[in-house]
């Protein structure tokens, strides 16, 4: 796929009808850390893995509030994501200024897609190297969209992007049919489980992930660390297997016993995890 004579600029087609620069931009999205989105009839949950350059630095901000009713999670070139978030915020503010009502999510993603398309057809530009999971609420309900560097966008029930997102997608593919009718709590729980799949064994704690929610009667906001840690503990997913099916109540009773003993050994040394009540 790489290093051929047709990939120098974005305005050159390959003989097979491909624009390699655009495809390379999509590669950049795959290199970023995972971001996941799910939606029900009334809520959208965005979750992402916190990635930092080194132990000394803070982690990158991957979830941005665009307006009270829209938020976005990004994967790829964070700088491009920040610029696009600023654009989206401006569009929402200007729309509200003109129409005194909220910009419908479907309209925003089209504008975003058109903006991305421009960069695939100008020789002096390069495609944005960021994939965006746009979650929002409007009169027609809750929506989750994925905008990619090519200028394409799709609506999803649930989706995951970034590195090791396939593991999350596999989990989501198993459970997605239940999401539409899911409660807010279960939606967040599924987001955490899916996120855990991408961590491949690494511990899921509130410092390794960021969760954001938007829903009917609930403005878009990022959940704070204590809330997330409490949810992780409640769902006992720190190190346990996700329940294979919905008859999970007896399983969870067994899980709580084994995870209690496991956590017993872990918590004294780990300051990020809230101590579990015995």
């Amino acid at each position: 796929m790489f290093r051929n004579q047709y990939d120098t600029d974005v305005t050159t087609w390959s003989p097979a009808g491909r624009l390699f620069q655009v495809e390379y931009a999509m590669e950049a999205v795959k290199q970023g850390s995972a971001a996941i989105g799910l939606r029900s009839k009334s809520h959208v949950v965005l979750a992402c893995v916190n990635k930092s350059n080194s132990e000394l630095s803070s982690h990158q901000k991957k979830i941005f509030k665009v307006d009270d009713h829209i938020g976005v999670a990004i994967s790829g070139l964070t700088a491009d994501g920040r610029v696009l978030s600023r654009y989206m915020r401006n569009e929402c503010i200007n729309y509200f200024y003109s129409y005194e009502s909220q910009l419908p999510v479907g309209r925003l993603v089209v504008q975003l897609a058109d903006k991305a398309q421009v960069c695939t057809q100008r020789s002096w530009k390069r495609p944005y190297g960021v994939g965006l999971l746009v979650g929002g609420l409007d009169e027609s309900g809750a929506h989750l969209y994925y905008n990619c560097p090519s200028g394409n966008y799709f609506e999803y029930q649930a989706f995951a992007i970034g590195s090791r997102s396939q593991a999350a997608k596999t989990y989501l593919e198993r459970k997605f049919e239940t999401f539409m009718e899911s409660s807010r709590e279960n939606l967040i729980k599924d987001a955490l489980f899916a996120l855990r799949e991408t961590l491949q064994g690494e511990k899921l704690t509130s410092s390794t992930c960021t969760i954001a929610v938007v829903g009917v009667g609930e403005a878009f906001h990022i959940l704070d660390q204590e809330t997330v840690q409490a949810l992780i503990n409640e769902f006992e997913i720190a190190g346990e297997e996700a329940p294979a099916d919905e008859a999970a109540a007896p399983d969870q009773a067994d899980d709580s016993e084994s995870s209690a003993t496991a956590a017993d050994q872990v918590t004294p040394s780990d300051p990020d995890v809230a101590p579990m009540d015995m």
Partner: protein, 223 residues
């Protein structure tokens, strides 16, 4: 051929009066709710007051179409600020923004006479008073609009210590309690309503303090 004069003005004056008083830990902002044009009353129930941020409330008299446009611009700018800074704008910051926004239209001004009230970063009451093109000053109390000429001298007399007439003011804010300040405001408007034809109908009072924001109404003479 004599020079043609404009026979159409882009401005109109919808009348009304605004007052704000700053206290040690509160701020009272008040305005009447009458909207007029010429000798007609357009409505008896129009609010001239808007809450721009957690701790900033603006009252504006003058041309209400320009006032509304100004309110929308400030609301949008505040939203942008919140996205960028992850917090609400402070009242002094909003005061500067209002000044800049007004001066931006120096050569086709917003016909708006504004009074901005709120709590500063230390929780003390603050009042900022403006002219139509953005010149502003922090004061302990202020009045703008058609009844201001009747109210300002009365406030100078009642609130002696924060009066700028002493130059500099003896106190930055009034030593009155919140209840006393509200009572004073009601007295001001009751008197102004008697003599100013553009002021009356109803008085809207907003009180901003550490526990939050509160709204009160008082009937005024309708003639």
């Amino acid at each position: 051929m004599t020079k043609q004069q404009a026979n159409w003005s882009p401005y109109d004056n919808n009348g009304g009066t605004c007052v704000a008083i700053a206290g040690a830990d509160y701020c009272v902002i008040a305005a009447d709710t009458r909207m007029s044009s010429g000798y007609n009353i357009l409505t008896r129930d129009y609010s001239k007051i808007i809450q721009l941020a957690d701790k900033s409330v603006m009252a504006s008299s003058g041309f209400q179409a320009d006032v509304r446009a100004l309110q929308k611009v400030l609301a949008s700018r505040h939203l942008l600020y919140q996205h960028q800074h992850n917090k609400q704008m402070s009242c002094p910051a909003m005061a500067q923004l209002l000044s800049n926004t007004l001066y931006y239209k120096r050569f086709f001004p917003y016909y708006a006479f504004n009074v901005l009230g709120g709590l500063d970063n230390e929780g003390k009451g603050c009042v900022f008073t403006y002219d139509a093109v953005g010149s502003y000053e922090r004061v302990g109390y202020s009045s703008q609009g058609s009844g201001s000429t009747l109210i300002t001298p009365f406030l100078d007399n009642q609130l002696k210590s924060p009066s700028p007439l002493l130059l500099p003011a003896k106190d930055a804010v009034t030593p009155l309690s919140e209840a006393e300040a509200i009572d004073l405001v009601k007295t001001c408007f009751a008197s102004a309503t008697e003599r100013d034809i553009y002021t009356g109908d109803k008085l809207e009072i907003i009180v901003l303090n550490a526990s939050g924001i509160r709204q009160e109404y008082m009937e005024l003479r309708k003639d």
